[in-house]
């Protein structure tokens, strides 16, 4: 598992998003996802959307994925 794979999967589900994924060990990941589609969505639902995009590797190959999810306005 690596940052590019995670980035690709998120973009597959959220093609207009700005995605940045970082990791020191390819086991613990930090991702920032900026997408206006998040407007009006609770944090929990925004994160669920990203988890769904990543698929079954959550919890196994990806031990931890810390997320920041924002709309463009929130990220300013």
């Amino acid at each position: 598992m690596d940052c590019q794979t995670i980035t690709k999967r998120i973009l597959n589900a959220l093609p207009h998003a700005e995605v940045e994924v970082k990791s020191d060990d390819n086991v613990h990941f930090f991702a920032t996802v900026i997408d206006d589609g998040f407007e009006g969505m609770s944090r929990v639902n925004r994160h669920r959307k990203v988890y769904q995009a990543i698929g079954d590797d959550m919890g196994s190959a990806i031990h931890a994925l810390a997320l920041t999810t924002q709309t463009h306005e929130e990220s300013q």
Binding site: R43, V44, R48, M58, G59, A66
Partner: protein, 105 residues
């Protein structure tokens, strides 16, 4: 009673419940430890469930919340989030506000 029912009952019977790895005194994971610390800092009373002691709960809670990871914090039956959401809400003041609104502080 199946696992989902058991979890539902746990979530209904404790106003603040944290599903974590380890216990608040002896956490077994950095993320779980952080959420427990935040709750202790806010002086919120909470019940904790050590998922490492029960594989059925450990797997069942992920189905229950439709959420793939532990820790999981529930307040008055509602799933609030994991470590990153709780930390974000704590830093913005939203978590303390939520606890006050729910009369838990």
């Amino acid at each position: 009673m199946n696992t989902q029912q058991k979890i539902q009952e746990q979530v209904n019977s404790h106003p603040v419940i944290l599903y974590m790895k380890g216990t608040p005194t002896f956490p077994q994971c950095g993320f779980s430890s952080r959420v427990a610390s935040v709750l202790k800092y806010l002086e919120v009373e909470f019940h904790s469930v050590n998922v490492l002691e029960d594989d059925e709960i450990r797997d069942g809670i992920k189905v229950f919340a439709n959420w793939p990871t532990i820790p999981q914090l529930y307040v008055k039956g509602e799933f609030i989030g994991g470590c990153d959401i709780v930390t974000e809400m704590f830093q913005s003041g939203e978590l303390k506000q939520l606890m006050e609104d729910q009369q838990l502080l």
